[in-house]
Every structure is written in C-alpha cells, then in structure tokens.
C-alpha cells in the first residue's frame, strides 16, 4: 500500500509539471494536502483524485489546442487549394485571370506573412486562449480562403456575371506591394527615428499608403485588411472581449443568411441592397447592445461606460465585417459589402453600445457550463 501511495504521489508530481503554470498549483495543492490525509486507502484515493484533476485539466487544455491546430491545418489546406485551383482551372491564356491569381496569392501571403511580420509586438498573434477567439480566427481565415476560391471559380466561367478583374498590370501590382510595405513599416520606422513625434502624424504615413494601395488594387488591399483585422481582433492583445467577438460573429452570420435565402426569390431583388443595409445596421446594433451589457463591472461608472461603448463598437465592426465577408462569398456582386459592411457595423455597434452604456450595472452571478458545476439559464 505504501509503495502504491508513493508511486501515485510521484506520478502526481510529474503530471503536475505538465500543466500550465496557472493550473499547476492545484495539482501541487492536492499533493501537499495528501500528507494530512490518513495513510492507507484514504490517502491513496486522495492522490488518485489529484491525478484525475490533472488529467481533466490537461485534457481540456490539450483539446482546445488540438482542435485549433487541426483547424489551422484545414485553413492552410484551403489556401493551398485556392492557389492550386487558380493555376489549374483558370484559362492560362487569358491575361485577366492573372490579376485574380495575384489576388489569391496576396490573400494567402497575408495569412502567412502578417503573423510573422508583427510577431514581436504580438499584434496579430498568438491567438487568445478562448473558444470564441479561436473559432472567429479559424472561420474568418477560412472565409478569406473561400473568397479566393469563389474568385477562381468565377475565372473558370469568364463572361458570366459582372465580375471582370481587368487586365493584368505588373507596374500596378509592384506599386501595390511597395505601398503595402510602406503601410506596414512606416509607423515602426517613424517611431524609431522620431520617438517624440505626434502619434497621429506617425499613423498618417501608413494610413496614406494603405489608402493609395486601396485605390490601386482594391481587392488585394481588402484581402490584406481583412486578414490583418481577423488576426488582430483575435490575438491576445486584442481590445475586443470574447463576448464582443462572439456577439459580432453571430450577428454577422444572422445578417448574411436571410439575404442568401431572399436572393433566391426574384421578387425581392429590388429591395435586396436596402435590406442588406438595414439588416446589417440592426444586427450590428443588437451585437453592440449584447457586447456592452456583457462588459463586467469595473467599479468606476465612467470607466464602465467607456468600456461598454468600446465593446459595442467592436462587436458591430465584427458583425459588419463577418456579414460583408460571407455575403461576398455567397454573391461576388456583393463585394461592395466588404467596405460597406464594417462601416455599417461600426455605426450600428456604436449605437447599440450607446444604448446599453447607461444601463444600470447589474451583478453578474458566476456561471459556467463546464463539468456541470454550474447551470445557468434565463
């Protein structure tokens, strides 16, 4: 019995070392307490409970990571497929398709390069350790890849629909790459050279470069902006709370799907654009209200109000961007929503946040859906 107890204690000590620092103390606590438990079966059961705790916490941690990595692999495969398809199925002789190939490549390059470019600052990663952030990041990146696939499929049916990529222009593409480099590097270079410069002046150069890139190659610029936005919103440094990400993503999906359903009926087509605008505003507003309400109290009413306004705006932005991305994937003609969606979402979300900002602070009882420890319902 003693030998078995000794073995379990050793296993618990080693297993505790595998847990992240925030969880390790709990396994060590069980081990430290074991000395106070009567020797024999009670102590053995106590240590076995500690091993169960370690396995459970470890499994939860690993499950999240494994699912995220599998998702990342799937997104990488989707991106590779988009690139391969653009070479495989597009008419090689058509110079217009080269533009779309470049668009696909730019989107994929942004997915690969942006996390590396800003790795020190952590602007684009690593992903925040939450289910909402991981899901939004994977789904967003998959949607960008899906957009590339949709563009490639349009190329294989050239002449159908209003989608015309225009002839390929090497100087324009090179200028766009230079402008992108300037937009990414200008602020860091400016801050290093003129540390006391006005922050707004430091942002002016990348802003101008980004705007010029948008004018020269709008879809490439949008692909980069969307990838950067998705990575930034879900990184550990993101100002967007998990609730804001979740509320925004759900509202964006809820906005795009009815439009998809209505588009099948020709009698609604005339109202479709107006419907899209109204629906995006409305749902972004709801997302803003939800995100603002879910901001936990800070003790300072003014601080709480500002946090609610900020989260409302961010949730609206996420909702508008998600709606725009999904609609563009479903109907390439809705490409205007890639720009209009986030703008409408920001307006709706800010309004929703403002509505909820002065809502009386309520106590939030602790709740969880994990392990059946807590059960929360409305």
């Amino acid at each position: 019995m003693e030998r078995l107890t000794w073995m379990l204690a050793g296993m618990l000590r080693h297993a505790a070392g595998l847990l992240p620092p925030g969880r390790r103390q709990w396994a060590e606590a069980v081990r430290a307490e074991a000395g106070h438990v009567p020797a024999g079966w009670p102590r053995l059961r106590w240590l076995a409970g500690g091993l169960w705790l370690t396995a459970r916490e470890g499994a939860k941690m690993m499950a999240g990571k494994i699912v995220y990595r599998l998702g990342a692999v799937a997104v990488a495969a989707l991106a590779a497929w988009a690139v391969w398809l653009s070479w495989r199925t597009s008419p090689a002789a058509d110079p217009q398709t080269v533009t779309d190939r470049v668009r696909v490549l730019v989107g994929v390059a942004a997915l690969v390069a942006l996390p590396w470019v800003a790795r020190r600052r952590g602007w684009f990663g690593p992903v925040r350790s939450s289910m909402a952030a991981r899901l939004v990041r994977l789904a967003g990146c998959a949607a960008v890849c899906g957009l590339g696939l949709a563009v490639v499929r349009m190329d294989s049916h050239l002449g159908l629909g209003p989608h015309q990529p225009g002839p390929f222009s090497l100087p324009r593409e090179i200028a766009a790459v230079v402008l992108l480099g300037a937009a990414l590097a200008a602020r860091a270079v400016g801050k290093a050279r003129w540390p006391d410069a006005d922050p707004s002046a430091l942002w002016a150069v990348p802003g101008t470069a980004g705007l010029l890139m948008f004018v020269a190659v709008p879809l490439q610029a949008l692909a980069v902006v969307y990838v950067a936005g998705i990575l930034a919103a879900t990184s550990w440094r993101s100002p967007a709370a998990n609730a804001s990400l979740a509320a925004g993503a759900i509202a964006g999906l809820a906005g795009a799907l009815p439009v998809y359903a209505a588009a099948g009926d020709d009698s609604y087509v005339g109202w479709l654009v107006l419907g899209i605008v109204v629906l995006t505003l409305l749902l972004a507003g709801l997302a803003g209200v939800a995100a603002a309400w879910l901001v936990p109290g800070t003790g300072d009413p003014q601080e709480l109000r500002e946090a609610r306004l900020r989260q409302g705006l961010l949730a609206g932005l996420v909702a508008g961007a998600a709606c725009g991305l999904l609609l563009t994937y479903l109907f390439v003609v809705a490409v205007f929503m890639l720009v209009l969606g986030p703008l409408l979402g920001a307006v709706g979300g800010a309004a929703g946040g403002a509505v909820a900002a002065d809502h009386p602070r309520r106590s939030r009882p602790a709740r969880s859906w994990s392990a059946g420890l807590f059960v929360s319902h409305w």
Binding site: V30, A32, E33, H36, L53, F374, V375
Partner: protein
Amino acid sequence: MSRRAALSAQALAVLAALAARPSAWRHGYDLARETGLKSGTLYPILVRLADREIVQACWEEGEPAGRPRRHLYRLTSDGLATATAALAAAPAPAARPARPGRAAAPRRLAGEGP
C-alpha cells in the same frame, strides 16, 4: 429578463462550508471532510470557483517544519455575496453540506432547465 444561476449540489456544499466561516482560510482536506467530497470532485470545484473569483486561494506563509505548505481557500467579498444568494435560493437539502464521508448526489436542483 432576469438571469438566475443555479449551482450543482456539490458546489453549493463547498460554498456552504466556506460561507460558514468566511474570514477563515480553509484547506482542502478540511473542506473535503466537511462536505464529504472526494479530492477529484472538490478540487475541480475549487478551480472553477477561483477562476470566477468567488474563492481566493493562496499558499500558507512560511515554511512549516516537517510538512509541505498547504494551499488555503476562502470566499472573496463578491464570492460571499454570491454564495449567500445562491444558498438562499437553493432548496434546503441541496444547500446543506453532505454528511462526512459521503458525497452529495450529483443531481440538478429543482427549477433548473432540462
């Protein structure tokens, strides 16, 4: 729309034990004896309660002779309010700590959803 949170019988038993002496630091074995919960049930509950800042945890100060330092727990001020409200709202049998050596049955409380 009012939101109500119900806790499992085991979590309520832990809260009841901690709320009985809210200012005192309690250790795991003490709580296990009082609630009748096994370590594999008690500690996951303490982890969740600490994650939600209902319970604060710390290591015993100093280096006691002949034994390792113990991990100690007590309710936070918000946690005391949450525990009081949860225990008041819970049906009496569930709020009562289980008899020593016997864990409370893992069942949902009356009034919970499906």
